[in-house]
């Protein structure tokens, strides 16, 4: 498997209520071992997956949101967030976790993983991909 493909995982659903978000994250973590050119997109209710301060004690489910902060360690450094989806829900970048990765080419400088993009820009990124996983 020498060919490297552009993989994008598109996350469109709220973190709880259905299992899609959690099982998508499981694919993302396993997929990281395959050394493809991976990026993630969060749009529609999917933007709620990245919000900080999630508390699931009232619904008896595991709060898996801390896992997103480990994505940098899996060399997943491109996380696109649809700006309009945030705005439609009264959210801004400040409501999301601060996700970072360390750039080994620049003495492990810490860099932001989240790229806030307009819907039009996100459409262009989607069009560049070889494989779209849709959750």
């Amino acid at each position: 498997m020498s060919e490297i493909k552009k993989f994008m995982y598109v996350n469109r659903k709220a973190p709880y209520g259905t299992i899609y978000a959690w099982e998508a994250l499981e694919v993302i973590l396993i997929g990281a071992a395959f050394e493809q050119d991976v990026s993630l997109a969060f749009m529609d209710d999917g933007v709620y997956q990245l919000t900080k301060g999630q508390d699931t004690t009232g619904i008896g489910m595991k709060n898996f949101s801390p896992t997103y902060s480990a994505l940098g360690d899996y060399e997943i450094t491109k996380i696109y967030v649809d700006k309009e989806s945030l705005e439609e829900r009264g959210l801004s970048l400040d409501d999301l976790q601060h996700l970072v990765w360390e750039d080994e080419d620049e003495d492990w400088a810490e860099k932001d993983s989240i790229r806030l993009v307009s819907r039009t820009e996100l459409a262009d990124v989607l069009a560049e991909q070889d494989v779209l996983f849709n959750f």
């Binding site: 493909k5 899609y20 099982e23 499981e26 494989v131």
Partner: protein, 130 residues
């Protein structure tokens, strides 16, 4: 074209389980290759042989099994999703101390890596789900 099919929804609950089958069948009839059919989320429930639909309804599970037999399809049920939802083969029953199995003919249980590898090896990943 070489295709990997991902089925994300359960049988009878959601039409995408039917659509995935019809698409796969049509693609094979058109001469395309199906590298793998991967069942994820509630889609793993397409692989239980204990399904008993009413006689005047389609049998979604048997339909997949027959298609797999006819075309030698590789139909993979995700192990993590299967464990949550009680889809069990001999190996899983043994590993997890279960007293029964229910995997249908033509299906096998394996890891998520099979989905990712399918996407790498195929010209297209076609996803059926919500």
């Amino acid at each position: 074209m070489k295709l990997t099919i991902q089925v994300n929804e359960g049988p009878y609950q959601h039409q995408s389980a039917d659509s995935a089958y019809f698409f796969t069948k049509a693609a094979l009839e058109k001469g395309h290759k199906i590298y793998r059919v991967f069942f994820y989320h509630d889609g793993v429930n397409n692989g239980t042989r204990l399904t008993t639909p009413p006689q005047d309804d389609r049998n979604i599970v048997n339909r997949w099994s027959e298609l797999a037999k006819e075309h030698d399809l590789d139909m993979v049920v995700c192990v993590a999703a299967a464990q949550r939802r009680g889809i069990v083969d001999d190996g899983e029953a043994q590993r997890n101390g279960k007293d029964a199995t229910n995997i249908a003919d033509g299906f096998r249980i394996s890891g998520l890596g099979q989905l990712v590898e399918g996407a790498i090896q195929s010209d297209r990943l076609v996803v059926f789900g919500d």
